[in-house]
Each structure stands twice: as structure tokens, then as C-alpha cells.
């Protein structure tokens, strides 16, 4: 019903009721001066899930908490911390849910193995369809 449209409208628009009175954090909407660091920060932000959104990364969310998380990521990258360390720190607090890139844990192995397994299954299925030895 209208729920879909309201939900869709919520990514296009930000509800004003849930906002604080403070402006966004300093580094929420500014880029780091070092472009390499900014690129690393951007790449990490695209992989982190927004806690209060309906399926968005913090990189393109207008929510306040997403802005605060962007600020956190940028400050830590500027301080020299590795993206993987920041990600683990967040995973320690929120669980693997917060990482859009499945981590290396056993629960995620099927995802990474899937392409190979699927290709092998497919190849096996078509093995009799293609004559590998050329006939004269």
C-alpha cells in the first residue's frame, strides 16, 4: 500500500522529527585534504551499513548517525589507522551485520566459494553438450 511509497520516500527525503539541534559533525560532509586517504575512507564508507536506514551504506545516507560515522571513519583514517582495523572495531560493536562486504568468517565462505562452485556445476552439466575433440 502506501507503506512502500512512504518507505521509498524516506530515502529520498530525511524525516526532520528525529534530528538533533546540532549541525553535522565536521568531517561528515567534508573530504580529507589528502586524496589517497579520502579514497581509502570513501571505499570503507561504501562498505559500512547505515544503522538507522533501510539498507544503505553510510557513504550516501543523509541520516545524522551516518554522518557521525563518516566523521569517525575520516578522523581515524587521517590519524593513520587502517580501514580493516576500523571495520573490525565496528564489527566488534555491531556484529558482521554492519559490513556490507561479507567478512572472512566461516559463515561467509559459501558466498565466496559460490561462483567457483556454480561454474563447476555448470561446466559439469554441459560436459556432454560440447564435443571437445574436433571431429575430422
Amino acid at each position: 500500500m502506501r507503506w512502500r511509497l512512504v518507505a521509498l520516500a524516506l530515502i529520498v527525503a530525511t524525516p526532520l522529527l528525529a534530528d538533533s539541534n546540532l549541525p553535522p559533525a565536521y568531517w561528515a560532509n567534508r573530504q580529507l585534504p589528502d586524496s589517497r586517504q579520502e579514497a581509502k575512507a570513501q571505499a570503507l564508507m561504501a562498505e559500512l551499513r547505515c544503522l538507522v536506514c533501510q539498507g544503505q551504506s553510510i557513504a550516501d545516507s543523509d541520516a545524522e548517525l551516518a554522518g557521525d560515522m563518516r566523521d569517525l571513519v575520516r578522523r581515524r583514517i587521517a590519524a593513520g589507522e587502517k580501514p580493516s582495523a576500523i571495520r573490525s572495531w565496528l564489527v566488534q560493536r555491531y556484529g558482521t551485520w554492519i559490513s556490507y562486504k561479507p567478512t572472512a568468517e566461516p559463515a561467509a565462505w559459501p558466498l565466496w566459494l559460490a561462483p567457483i562452485v556454480l561454474l563447476l556445476i555448470g561446466a559439469w552439466l554441459i560436459r556432454r553438450r560440447i564435443r571437445l575433440k574436433t571431429s575430422s
Binding site: S20, N21, V52, L65, L72
Partner: protein, 175 residues
Amino acid sequence: MNRALRFAPLAVLLLIIVALVWRLATPVDTTVHSKLEGKPVPVFALAAALPGKPTVSSADLATGHPRLVNVFASWCVPCISEVKVLQSLKESGVAIDGIDIRDRPVDLANFLGRNGDPYQRIGSDPQSGLQIALGSSGVPESFIVDGKGIIRYQHIGAITQSDVPMILSKLERAR
């Protein structure tokens, strides 16, 4: 094509239907829980939220007695009714510390003046830094921290009157 192969799609479909039926029966829980239950409170020291009111630091949470840490804000609507419940908890002897998210002293002062002040200490968290460090994802939330500084329980959402017995019993068990 052999038998197993021809029935394979049906088998896969069955698995998928079972999974979908399970999902329909157990609705999605969209709340994000902190993974720090059972772990020590991260080291932190916040600035004071109000002049004259003591602030919160991680050292204050490991004093030997369990404490209730309430993550709140003046702009948070459900927090208004929660404050009354926190008052009654305070009267029952619960030590409550507040972490004020993204707030200004003047707004906080107004909020406490209008609704009451159940907090022994209030720390200011203007950029949600501590909130994120605790694994909290919104306001209001509360954490029960035991005497050794271990987080024992996370309560997501406002504490209502009906939650009080449960909170009190968890605080007892955290001694």
C-alpha cells in the same frame, strides 16, 4: 538427463520455500543490538554536559556497584516519558548516569528542568562517538554495567513502567 538432475531444481525450490516460510513466521527484527554484552565498557572520558554536573568516564563505571547508563537526548521524544520512569528507579536506589547525544547545554538544561533530573552524572557526546563505541544505534537506550565495568545488558528503546521489575532484577544479578 538422469533422475537426480531432473529433480534437483525441485529440491532447491523446497529449500527456498522453507526458508521463506520461516522468514514469514519470524518477522525481521530490525533493531541492531550491541555486541558488547559481556564485555568491558570501552575506555572513555566525556566532557561535562552541564556546568556544575559531574561528567561520566569509564573509571566511574567500575566502582564495585552496578550502574544504569542511559543514552538519551533532549530532542528525543520517547526520552521525555522515560525520565519519569528513571526517576522512580532512582528513588529505588538505582545509580543512573546519562550520556547526552548531540545536545547543547541550554537544551539539556531545559529538558531536565521540564522533566526532572534522575542522573548522578551526565556526559556530553556531541558526535555520537561514545554511542558508536558502545554499539548503540539510537536513543533512548540503556546499559546495565556491573561493578567491574562489564556491560551486562542492553535495553533498546525507552524503559517503561512495565520494564522496571526486569531492570531491577538484572541490576540485582549484576552485583
